[in-house]
């Protein structure tokens, strides 16, 4: 596949690996904040190529993982209503709420449908005028333009039976929350390449300066991730704290301006609760007042609902990089992908699920030689 296969070239991987080993003279801790990058790192075994003194942590980059329990509950409540068609991305279906997940609502007769795109949910609304169609709008900035377009198109078409259950989160406030956590050990970040494709990377300069951390906008293929790590290591070794763009074939500094304008038409920044972090101010997107008719929380009267949260799940520590999944006492025993305690185990990109699937058998020998 063009622009994909070239960035998975085995020989180039060897080159970059050697370069990282040569460049890293001291221990460094780098965090990536993107479920897609977590997945790629686990799938290709990239972290095992790195020298032992480079630690790669997985931050709160999985929108599925950070969706609060409360919102899952609102989703299951709405989905359980007769006459509703509840549309969602596939990975949300298994995330546990307080008492059930969307899969169980489906098992009990709810019309819960997996869609690939929010625009497909709009089509379903057009085709089913007598049913209420709700789309579970989860995601970081990458998904916001598509979700905004769905609502925008719905309003242009005068649809009255379409609404969004919004759970949008923003990356820069999450980076700050990680850096502000007592015990934080993150020294550099790989910034999510597709989030930055939309938003550009101007927002990261103040963070890099204030906290003195290098931030490298990075892509998703093995070569991208290794090059991103190399660029971080070089900055760290030289005592620099700059913003750089590794993923230049997709990311421009100003980002995608039409997409940002579309988002601004439909969404506004507001407070958002993050699973594992609690509320982070100005960290989410919600629908603008002009789009209130498309807000499922208002339409279905669930806005006031709050969930009691409790338990032994340590996904909060994992998301902050304060703990690795294996350090959680429940990991692999009471908490597995079949009966997860928290979203980091349910979502394919959750750090716990990734570790469970790819690392729990890891040979004691440690790092791999190519």
């Amino acid at each position: 596949m063009k622009f994909v296969d070239e960035f998975r070239d085995a020989a180039a991987v060897k080159t970059l690996t050697a370069a990282v080993h040569a460049a890293a003279t001291r221990p460094w801790t780098i965090m990536e904040v993107c479920g897609g990058q977590t997945h790629a790192i686990m799938k290709f075994g990239i972290d095992e190529l790195l020298p032992p003194h480079i630690t790669l942590l997985h931050g709160p980059g999985c929108p599925v993982c950070v969706t609060p329990v409360e919102l899952i509950d609102k989703g299951t409540q709405i989905a359980a209503r007769p006459g509703t068609i509840f549309c969602s991305f596939g990975d949300m279906l298994r995330v546990p709420g307080s008492s059930q997940d969307l899969f169980q609502v489906k098992a009990n007769g709810g019309d819960v449908r997996v869609v690939y795109s929010p625009l497909d949910a709009v089509k379903i609304a057009i085709e089913n005028p007598q049913r209420e169609v709700v789309f579970f709008a989860v995601g970081f900035e990458t998904t916001a333009p598509a979700n905004a377009m769905a609502v925008y198109q719905a309003r242009q078409a005068g649809l009255r039976n379409f609404s969004l259950l919004v759970s949008h989160v923003l990356v820069p406030p999450a980076l700050r929350a990680v850096l502000d956590s007592p015990g934080n050990r993150v020294q550099a970040f790989l910034a999510a390449g597709h989030v930055c494709t939309v938003m550009g990377y101007n927002e990261y300069y103040p963070i890099a300066q204030q906290y003195r951390v290098p931030i490298v906008v990075t892509g998703f293929e093995p070569l991208d991730i290794l090059q991103g790590v190399l660029m971080c290591v070089r900055q760290l070794e030289a005592g620099q704290a700059e913003v750089e763009n590794q993923y230049s074939r997709s990311v421009r500094r100003e980002g995608n301006v039409p997409a940002q304008q579309l988002m601004a038409k439909v969404f506004q920044v507001g407070p958002r609760k993050w699973r594992g972090f609690g509320p982070i101010p100005q960290s989410g997107l919600c629908l603008r007042p002009e789009y209130a008719a498309y807000d499922a929380e208002l339409k279905f009267g669930v806005a006031a609902y709050q969930a009691e949260e409790d338990g032994e799940c340590r996904s909060g520590d994992v998301l902050r990089g304060l703990a690795k999944p294996m350090e959680c006492p429940a990991f692999g025993t009471r908490c597995t992908p079949e009966h997860p305690l928290g979203a980091t185990m349910v979502s394919n990109e959750g750090a716990c699920a990734a570790y469970y699937r790819y690392r729990r058998h890891a040979p004691a020998a440690g790092r791999q030689e190519l």
Binding site: M1, K14, K43, D91, S98, R113, R334, A362
Partner: protein
């Protein structure tokens, strides 16, 4: 929610007890295996079930027969490259072949939903007839039931099959040995993606068709050529990875495969990239793996490649003694990762 608390460890109450069957129980992954191990197998415990193979080999009056059954609940009923009828015939034919048997007689139970158009039923029957002829089997008995509207998804089919065992040796995970080489009969993932393409909501267009096909002929050719086949497994739900994991666990061996050697067709690759699927876990309906001793690989490959359905057959890995019960994949960039069972079905992801 206390506002001064910065480090809330948000977490729901654990859902350990699932009092209901959910879709994942039929997905071919870990949950289905757990269901079988905890409830189904104990209900019927006997030595035949312990072999955990695609079918059972039984002896009746001195004749060794293979016996198998499968139910088909695919939705939609018709998809590129096949339909529920062709699946129902070929699936059972293939399971018999995996026991080293020549498929001979099938039964067919039809469960139809009230309101199913007669025309649909006829198309399915015609398809079953064609496939039975092509596979050289006869449907000698069957049953028909109708259920109320809303209780049946159109049509369900169960087929059971009997075959005459040709192989003199026992074929199954119990015969797998360290040093065995693993052959894969062709490219993977077509059926899984073909189904995805017509499923509501995903709307993918391509020329891709299901790989639904009978594989009894190449298997029998292997046996007749005197190849010492240790194990056969057709790759259905859960894909190549699940079949390898099942065999590694049952036989208590280590399996190592190489990503570079596993054929995946371009369209399947593209669809997997869009949806975030791993082709190793996608369903197939006309592909199998064969475990043969290293000394017989060249001959086995030559036999397989002589059949159109196996023309792309490849060596994909080998068996070792340790670490047991693990399947390791050498990725295309040269790193190694351990494969695991999926919990349930793969879902399209956004991350």
């Amino acid at each position: 929610m206390p506002e001064d608390k910065k480090f809330t460890l948000d977490c729901p109450l654990p859902i350990n007890e699932r009092p209901q069957i959910v879709l994942a129980h039929g997905g071919g992954g870990r949950m289905m295996h757990d269901l079988l191990e905890r409830f189904v197998l104990p209900a019927f415990r006997n030595p035949h079930l312990e072999s955990r193979h695609d079918g059972a080999v039984v002896e009746i009056g001195g004749a060794r027969l293979a016996f198998t059954t499968d139910s088909y609940v695919v939705h939609p009923l018709f998809f590129p490259g096949g339909d529920i009828g062709s699946l129902a015939i070929n699936g059972t034919v293939n399971d018999l072949a995996m026991c080293g048997a020549e498929p001979l007689y099938l039964s067919a139970g039809l469960i139809m939903e009230e309101g199913l158009p007669l025309d649909t039923m006829q198309r399915v029957l015609a398809s079953m007839s064609r496939c039975a002829q092509a596979a050289g089997v006869q449907v000698v008995t069957g049953d028909t039931k109708v259920v109320d509207k809303g209780k049946g998804d159109g049509m369900f089919i169960n087929t059971a099959g009997l075959g005459a065992v040709v192989a003199s040796q026992s074929i199954g995970p119990g015969s797998v040995r360290p040093g065995d080489v693993i052959l894969l009969s062709g490219d993977i993932g077509r059926h899984g993606i073909a189904i995805m393409m017509v499923r509501e909501g995903l709307e993918l267009e391509s020329a891709l068709e299901s790989d639904c096909a009978p594989v009894a002929a190449p298997v029998l050719a292997l046996l007749k050529a005197g190849i010492e086949v240790h194990c056969l497994r057709d790759l259905t739900r859960g894909g190549l990875a699940t079949s390898l994991l099942e065999i590694a666990e049952t036989a208590a061996v280590h399996i190592k495969i190489e990503e570079d050697r596993i054929p995946v067709e371009d369209n399947v690759k593209g669809a997997c990239e869009i949806l975030g699927f791993d082709p190793l876990y996608l369903a197939n309906e006309g592909r199998f793996i064969a475990f043969v001793p290293a000394t017989q690989v060249a001959r086995a490959l030559a036999v397989l490649r002589g059949h159109a359905v196996c023309s792309a057959a490849e060596v994909i890995g080998r068996v070792a003694a340790a670490p047991a019960n693990l399947v390791a994949l050498k990725t295309r960039i040269g790193t190694e990762r351990v494969l695991d069972m999926l919990s349930g079905e793969q879902l399209p992801r956004i991350c």
